[in-house]
Amino acid sequence: MIGWLGTFLIAASALAGLPLFIVILAAAMFGFFLADVPLTVIAIELYRLIDTPMLLALPLFTFSGYVLAESGLSLRLVRFTSRVMGWMPAGLAVVSFFVCAFFTAFTGASGVTIVAVGALLFPALLAGGYNERYSLGLVTTSGSLGLLLAPSLPLILYGVIAQQMDLPVPFSLRDLFLAGAIPALLMILSLSVYSVWVTKDLSLVREQFDGEEVLIQFQELKWDMPLPFIVLGGIYSGFFAVSEAAAVTSAYVVLVYVFVKKEVNLSSVPRIVKESMMMVGGILLILGVSLAFTNYLIDAEVPQALFSWINEFVKSKVAFLLLLNGVFLLLGAILDIFSALVIMVPLILPLAISYGVDPVHLGIIFLANMQIGYFTPPIGMNLFIASYRFKKPISEIYLATLPFMGVLLIVLALITYLPEISLFFLDR
């Protein structure tokens, strides 16, 4: 009874606009108070943040992403890829998917992609002969497309949360990065195929393939090119640890975009630090207080209760996965991705393992759902950002994104029910 009342109060206060960390902190305090545990435990749990492995990667990759978002990288990427792929049917659309995915992987799906890249692509798509509804849908959907690609922040955060949980089935961040690659490419491929099919009757502007022009645009990218190699090469080859790759990346972006290419003013670096660290601080504080809250839940044996409750209705792994998809899609539309990760993963991961779901696979399912949640009507975040950025009524954005959502839901089903897609590169 108290449990239900408490849950109701928590939900109501969260909906009323209380900062999420306050909601969780208050819940943890109340729980420990009822259990007669001195509240010092909250501070002890928060301080445990420092023992969380790989946490360092989070502020550093976030900072790099914020610098990249202010550089001219988005423009150069669009120019180069449209020279390379522009001759294909629906070439510009395919370009858009690739550029958005790459950009989101580096900046995190915080709406930056729609604002920085989408704003470039939308007029280009219209000029290229694509109709408005299709173009709107494309830029809105692509705002969260690279979420499964390394080094996206949600992917790292999932690894960080899972690693401090003492799982019976351990995995490394490298496993997670490898696992995200095929599902992400599958999404891009499916969206591309859909785009070719849906635009087959339009008279699109096709670029001529011009080797010389490609070379020129490629040279424009010479300072940006090392980035994926530092991050991916460094991590996959084992030369850097993830947090070290993050440190090298942030030093490199400052060196290149502030000092060499001078696209970002030195005087605006403190502002970028401030803005990016506000986001990191917000996320890590929620993570810290959730460590305390999760600990309370475990003391109160909530995960076991949850398990036996769900076990009554859900007997098979497939049914469990179906339930997950439903819950996650709803969650992704209501909560922002970081809070959803921090709150739900500690509860759901043990449950998933007991149903025989691989923790790496669960991470991919979770994030794929969240990715779609970003533009699930009526309140997915990308819908509002796109409506605001492109000055279109939100109902128009809903209609525009629905077909793309359909395509991605099919891919989601494949990813969820065929674990091999995610675990292909892993020895599991």
Binding site: P19, I22, A43, L46, V248, M277, G282, I334
Partner: protein
């Protein structure tokens, strides 16, 4: 006078944030360099890095409170009439201030115990000093929530 102090505190926060991030990047780079060229690293560097991430997180959270940038769901806010919205904002701010106050008190309690214990975090730096940021951060955030509640 009060305004000057506030501006000074805000400047200090921003500066500490930038400085901590700079130290983190430099220290991490130094460690990579030392390990790959000379095959060793400083033992204390790992601890410093970990603690600095906590400091960055809490400083960032302090600034986020200042700029009203904390993650929240605020679904109801979209549907409330203006007066109810005002009341709702005042209540959430004051409740947040109370919770931060409690958190400040109990983390100060932890700092006090660690002070009596005098455990060492790294080098000659005691653990309680590293934990100081927690009561400070919650105190500052609590006061800011209070002023948000007052000013809305």
């Amino acid at each position: 006078m009060v305004n000057k102090t506030l501006v000074f505190i805000e400047k200090m926060e921003d500066f500490s944030l930038v400085f901590s991030l700079l130290v983190v990047v430099s220290l991490a780079l130094l460690q990579i360099f030392l390990r790959n060229v000379f095959g060793f690293g400083f033992m204390w560097a790992e601890s410093v890095l970990k603690i600095l991430v906590l400091w960055i997180a809490l400083l960032g959270a302090m600034v986020a409170t200042r700029e009203n940038q904390h993650i929240k769901i605020d679904l109801l806010e979209r549907f409330l009439p203006p007066l109810a919205l005002l009341l709702c904002r005042k209540m959430t701010s004051i409740f947040s201030a109370i919770i931060c106050g409690l958190a400040a008190y109990w983390s100060a309690d932890l700092v006090y115990y660690e002070f009596l214990d005098s455990t060492v975090a790294f080098g000659a730096v005691p653990v309680w000093l590293c934990q100081m940021i927690m009561p400070i951060a919650f105190c500052v955030m609590g006061l800011r929530f209070l002023s948000h509640g007052w000013n809305t």
